[in-house]
Protein backbone atom coordinates (compact mmCIF):
# COMPACT_ATOMS: atom_id res chain seq x y z
CA UNK A 1 0.00 0.00 0.00
CA UNK A 2 1.47 3.35 -1.06
CA UNK A 3 1.28 6.55 0.93
CA UNK A 4 1.79 10.14 -0.09
CA UNK A 5 2.84 13.10 1.95
CA UNK A 6 0.20 15.78 1.86
CA UNK A 7 -0.99 18.73 3.85
CA UNK A 8 -4.35 18.17 5.52
CA UNK A 9 -6.80 20.19 7.57
CA UNK A 10 -8.51 18.51 10.50
CA UNK A 11 -12.16 19.28 9.76
CA UNK A 12 -13.59 16.99 12.43
CA UNK A 13 -14.41 17.66 16.04
CA UNK A 14 -11.92 15.14 17.36
CA UNK A 15 -8.12 15.01 17.18
CA UNK A 16 -6.77 13.15 14.19
CA UNK A 17 -3.31 11.60 14.38
CA UNK A 18 -2.47 13.89 17.27
CA UNK A 19 -3.63 17.03 15.49
CA UNK A 20 -6.40 19.11 17.03
CA UNK A 21 -9.55 20.12 15.15
CA UNK A 22 -8.77 23.07 12.90
CA UNK A 23 -5.06 22.27 12.68
CA UNK A 24 -3.21 21.87 9.41
CA UNK A 25 -0.67 19.11 9.30
CA UNK A 26 1.48 17.14 6.91
CA UNK A 27 1.16 13.38 6.94
CA UNK A 28 1.66 10.32 4.83
CA UNK A 29 -1.62 8.47 4.80
CA UNK A 30 -2.29 5.36 2.80
CA UNK A 31 -4.93 5.69 0.12
CA UNK A 32 -7.40 3.77 2.31
CA UNK A 33 -6.67 5.87 5.39
CA UNK A 34 -7.13 9.07 3.40
CA UNK A 35 -10.33 7.83 1.78
CA UNK A 36 -11.89 6.87 5.10
CA UNK A 37 -10.79 10.04 6.87
CA UNK A 38 -12.20 12.29 4.13
CA UNK A 39 -15.44 10.33 3.94
CA UNK A 40 -16.04 10.62 7.68
CA UNK A 41 -15.28 14.33 7.68
CA UNK A 42 -12.11 14.07 9.74
CA UNK A 43 -9.87 15.80 7.21
CA UNK A 44 -9.65 17.44 3.85
CA UNK A 45 -6.66 17.77 1.59
CA UNK A 46 -5.21 21.28 1.61
CA UNK A 47 -2.41 20.68 -0.83
CA UNK A 48 0.23 18.16 -1.73
CA UNK A 49 3.29 18.68 0.42
CA UNK A 50 6.27 20.30 -1.29
CA UNK A 51 8.30 17.34 -0.16
CA UNK A 52 5.98 14.99 -1.96
CA UNK A 53 7.23 13.27 -5.06
CA UNK A 54 3.67 12.86 -6.26
CA UNK A 55 1.83 15.35 -8.43
CA UNK A 56 -0.54 17.72 -6.67
CA UNK A 57 -3.47 16.62 -8.79
CA UNK A 58 -3.13 13.02 -7.70
CA UNK A 59 -6.41 12.46 -5.90
CA UNK A 60 -6.88 16.13 -5.08
CA UNK A 61 -10.41 15.78 -6.36
CA UNK A 62 -11.21 14.02 -3.08
CA UNK A 63 -10.90 17.32 -1.32
CA UNK A 64 -14.07 19.31 -0.80
Amino acid sequence: MTSKKRRYLNTGSTPFRGHAPGDEFVASLTADEERRAIARGSIRVVEASKTSSRKADDGEGDST
Partner: protein, 144 residues
Protein backbone atom coordinates in the same frame (compact mmCIF):
# COMPACT_ATOMS: atom_id res chain seq x y z
CA UNK B 1 3.90 1.40 40.94
CA UNK B 2 0.67 3.07 41.98
CA UNK B 3 -2.65 1.37 41.54
CA UNK B 4 -4.43 2.88 38.61
CA UNK B 5 -7.78 4.55 38.12
CA UNK B 6 -9.12 4.61 34.60
CA UNK B 7 -9.41 8.33 33.85
CA UNK B 8 -6.87 9.38 31.26
CA UNK B 9 -7.01 6.50 28.81
CA UNK B 10 -6.23 7.09 25.18
CA UNK B 11 -8.38 5.38 22.55
CA UNK B 12 -7.47 5.80 18.90
CA UNK B 13 -9.24 4.17 15.97
CA UNK B 14 -7.94 4.64 12.43
CA UNK B 15 -6.06 7.77 13.48
CA UNK B 16 -9.07 9.38 15.16
CA UNK B 17 -8.64 10.17 18.84
CA UNK B 18 -11.89 8.91 20.32
CA UNK B 19 -10.66 9.03 23.92
CA UNK B 20 -13.28 11.53 25.02
CA UNK B 21 -15.99 9.48 23.29
CA UNK B 22 -15.04 6.25 25.10
CA UNK B 23 -15.78 5.19 28.65
CA UNK B 24 -14.61 1.59 28.98
CA UNK B 25 -12.05 -0.70 27.39
CA UNK B 26 -11.80 -4.46 27.84
CA UNK B 27 -9.05 -6.49 26.23
CA UNK B 28 -9.17 -10.25 26.11
CA UNK B 29 -6.43 -12.52 24.84
CA UNK B 30 -7.07 -16.20 25.32
CA UNK B 31 -5.07 -19.20 24.19
CA UNK B 32 -7.12 -22.26 23.42
CA UNK B 33 -6.57 -25.02 25.95
CA UNK B 34 -5.64 -28.28 24.31
CA UNK B 35 -5.82 -31.31 26.51
CA UNK B 36 -2.79 -33.53 26.10
CA UNK B 37 -3.35 -35.48 29.27
CA UNK B 38 -2.08 -39.00 29.47
CA UNK B 39 -2.18 -41.61 32.14
CA UNK B 40 -0.20 -40.42 35.14
CA UNK B 41 0.27 -41.16 38.81
CA UNK B 42 -1.17 -37.77 39.83
CA UNK B 43 -4.17 -37.91 37.53
CA UNK B 44 -3.68 -34.21 36.78
CA UNK B 45 -4.80 -32.90 33.44
CA UNK B 46 -2.09 -31.59 31.18
CA UNK B 47 -2.54 -28.85 28.62
CA UNK B 48 -0.71 -27.04 25.88
CA UNK B 49 -1.66 -23.66 24.44
CA UNK B 50 -3.42 -23.63 21.11
CA UNK B 51 -4.89 -20.88 18.97
CA UNK B 52 -5.06 -17.38 20.40
CA UNK B 53 -8.33 -15.48 20.29
CA UNK B 54 -8.13 -11.74 20.94
CA UNK B 55 -10.85 -9.14 21.25
CA UNK B 56 -10.78 -5.48 22.16
CA UNK B 57 -14.16 -4.24 23.32
CA UNK B 58 -14.66 -0.52 23.74
CA UNK B 59 -17.74 1.21 25.10
CA UNK B 60 -18.34 4.46 23.25
CA UNK B 61 -20.81 7.28 23.56
CA UNK B 62 -23.10 7.68 20.60
CA UNK B 63 -22.13 10.81 18.66
CA UNK B 64 -22.99 11.60 15.09
CA UNK B 65 -20.78 14.56 14.14
CA UNK B 66 -17.96 14.62 11.62
CA UNK B 67 -15.13 12.40 12.78
CA UNK B 68 -17.06 11.26 15.84
CA UNK B 69 -18.02 7.75 16.82
CA UNK B 70 -20.68 6.90 14.26
CA UNK B 71 -18.87 8.55 11.35
CA UNK B 72 -15.66 6.80 12.33
CA UNK B 73 -16.85 3.36 13.29
CA UNK B 74 -19.86 2.47 11.18
CA UNK B 75 -18.12 2.75 7.77
CA UNK B 76 -15.31 0.60 9.14
CA UNK B 77 -17.81 -2.02 10.26
CA UNK B 78 -19.94 -1.85 7.14
CA UNK B 79 -16.99 -1.99 4.79
CA UNK B 80 -15.19 -4.72 6.77
CA UNK B 81 -12.17 -2.46 6.78
CA UNK B 82 -8.96 -3.30 8.60
CA UNK B 83 -7.82 -0.36 10.72
CA UNK B 84 -5.21 0.38 13.37
CA UNK B 85 -6.65 0.40 16.89
CA UNK B 86 -4.62 1.75 19.81
CA UNK B 87 -5.10 2.09 23.55
CA UNK B 88 -2.87 3.23 26.38
CA UNK B 89 -3.59 4.00 30.00
CA UNK B 90 -2.35 7.59 30.16
CA UNK B 91 -2.91 9.91 27.22
CA UNK B 92 -0.88 12.66 28.91
CA UNK B 93 2.30 10.57 28.87
CA UNK B 94 4.15 9.14 25.89
CA UNK B 95 4.17 5.46 25.11
CA UNK B 96 6.80 3.73 27.23
CA UNK B 97 7.47 0.56 29.13
CA UNK B 98 5.42 1.95 32.01
CA UNK B 99 2.68 3.32 29.74
CA UNK B 100 2.54 0.64 27.09
CA UNK B 101 0.41 0.91 24.02
CA UNK B 102 -1.89 -1.92 23.05
CA UNK B 103 -2.24 -1.82 19.30
CA UNK B 104 -2.91 -3.86 16.25
CA UNK B 105 -4.84 -4.05 13.04
CA UNK B 106 -8.43 -4.79 13.88
CA UNK B 107 -11.69 -5.69 12.25
CA UNK B 108 -14.82 -4.20 13.78
CA UNK B 109 -17.03 -7.27 13.72
CA UNK B 110 -19.55 -6.03 16.28
CA UNK B 111 -21.00 -2.54 16.16
CA UNK B 112 -23.82 -1.85 18.60
CA UNK B 113 -25.14 1.61 17.79
CA UNK B 114 -27.76 2.98 18.14
CA UNK B 115 -28.42 1.79 21.66
CA UNK B 116 -30.62 4.49 23.04
CA UNK B 117 -32.92 4.81 26.01
CA UNK B 118 -35.03 7.85 26.72
CA UNK B 119 -33.35 10.24 29.11
CA UNK B 120 -30.05 8.35 29.24
CA UNK B 121 -26.67 8.89 27.66
CA UNK B 122 -26.31 6.67 24.62
CA UNK B 123 -23.50 4.20 24.94
CA UNK B 124 -22.73 1.18 22.83
CA UNK B 125 -20.08 -1.49 22.46
CA UNK B 126 -17.73 -1.91 19.55
CA UNK B 127 -15.72 -5.11 19.45
CA UNK B 128 -12.55 -5.45 17.42
CA UNK B 129 -10.83 -8.71 16.62
CA UNK B 130 -7.26 -9.06 15.41
CA UNK B 131 -7.07 -8.85 11.64
CA UNK B 132 -3.59 -10.13 10.95
CA UNK B 133 -1.02 -12.56 12.27
CA UNK B 134 0.55 -9.97 14.60
CA UNK B 135 -2.63 -9.71 16.60
CA UNK B 136 -2.98 -7.13 19.35
CA UNK B 137 0.21 -6.60 21.31
CA UNK B 138 1.56 -4.26 23.96
CA UNK B 139 4.42 -2.06 22.78
CA UNK B 140 6.82 0.09 24.77
CA UNK B 141 7.36 2.54 21.91
CA UNK B 142 4.98 4.42 19.67
CA UNK B 143 4.89 3.85 15.95
CA UNK B 144 7.28 6.16 14.06
Amino acid sequence: MAKGTALKDSVDVDGVDLSNMARAVVFSSEHERIDVSGFSASGANEFVAGQTDQTLTITFYGAYGAGETHATLYPIHQGREVVMVKWRADQTAPVSATNPELRGNGLLLTYGSPNRTRGEAETFEAQFVAADEDGFQFYAAALP
